[in-house]
Symmetry: C2
Subunit: 235 residues, 2 copies
């Protein structure tokens, strides 16, 4: 009997995965706003009502896709960070930036789902906030390492931003200098600006050599958080 239940659970997991895979294809074809359980079911050769046994509503399916996307880009960022823990923080920074960009270019529709326009009428539940913070935490990890090493030299904050920077530091970057926390959050937002322009087509007829451009921009972002390249870098 435990075998039976085991088989049932395995089947459920497989069908759930198949539904999400097909839903990701629908996401690419029609966008998140038009994601429909019916279309997924049709493509899968099922009947729409059967899907309600796996996802109680369209929004629950969307939530699952959003969490998967955050976990996917988060894992890519964490892997890049892990590969470079012993490298100079500057190199680790560049590696994580590239990992996020590479993930976005490989999964443009999932990127749009989490960093593009919000889906009208959908409000993300609490369950997404953990996965959503993984990429940011990778950057915090780099800043901590740099701070523990030769340090991060950044100009003092304007007085107006000091209380807010202190609060942010206490909330998710305990131990970092507040000006580093503020610079980190800004750099993270700016990085997605660069990636969004590339993924969403805003660079069409503007930037052709995206590789060279991104490399330079990521280096500038590193500079903005106080990270300096190793001496033997390209001029």
């Amino acid at each position: 009997m435990s075998t039976v239940r085991g088989a049932r659970e395995r089947a459920r997991i497989e069908v759930t995965a198949a539904i999400k895979d097909e839903a990701r294809r629908r996401l690419a074809a029609e966008g998140a706003a038009k994601l429909s359980l019916r279309a997924v079911a049709r493509e899968l050769g099922m009947v729409s009502s059967a899907l309600y046994r796996y996802f109680p509503s369209r929004d629950d399916l969307l939530t699952a896709l959003i969490i998967d996307a955050y976990d996917s880009v988060g894992a890519a960022a964490e892997a890049a960070r892990a590969r470079t823990v012993t490298a100079p923080p500057y190199d680790s920074w560049i590696a994580v930036c590239r990992a996020v960009r590479d993930w976005a270019l490989a999964h443009p529709h999932e990127y749009a789902l989490i960093y593009g326009s919000p889906v009208p009428g959908y409000s993300a539940p609490q369950a997404t906030v953990g996965p959503a913070s993984r990429v940011g935490n990778a950057f915090v990890s780099i800043a901590r390492a740099a701070h523990a090493g030769r340090g991060l030299a950044l100009p003092p904050l304007p007085t107006a931003l000091r209380p807010e920077a202190a609060r942010m530091t206490a909330d998710f970057a305990e131990g970092l200098p507040p000006e580093v926390t503020a610079a980190l959050v800004a750099a993270w937002a700016q990085l997605t600006g660069l990636i969004s322009f590339e993924v969403f087509g805003q660079f069409n007829r503007v930037v052709e050599d995206r590789e060279a451009f991104f490399a330079h921009a990521a280096a500038q972002l590193a500079h903005g958080v106080g990270l300096m390249p190793s001496p033997r870098a390209d001029a």
Copy 2:
């Protein structure tokens, strides 16, 4: 008879404006992907087939909204630039950044339409590229003024980016040093990253004092393109 035609043309212009206004309300409620001529017609007390006399298809209506949005944010940026042509370039930079942000916060759905995820199945026609470049041109104007004045001191570009930066300069920033052109494009993408995080809700539970944070980030962006604040600035 010219009076009759004049009256007809006036009526046509008024109805067209009413359709676009209602469409913008639908955009806010349902998003661009679900914008429908029928819903607009219903809300206006018309019948859907009547709208086809004004916009031959749903995509043509969308194109009109996109062009209006680019023109609207472009006009806001140009006005901020015009107000500050005689001010130090650094101050003008901050003013234009704020103008774009203020516009985005006042028109979040139009902002999403032009800088958010692309609408699946829709491809923007050539007619949008002129209006789309107005904001960028305001930034180029500031850089030109600074370059003509005490200059913009930026480190040399990595060799890999030099040909691309030269091409970009020739295409839309003739006369600027190539490293300034590259920095300008990057800053523009990064600015929309900051604004998107705020408008799209990515700063929820992360950044509370958005005003102070944006002021600091815009100043950092100015620094990134080589603009320095006037001596009497806040530390």
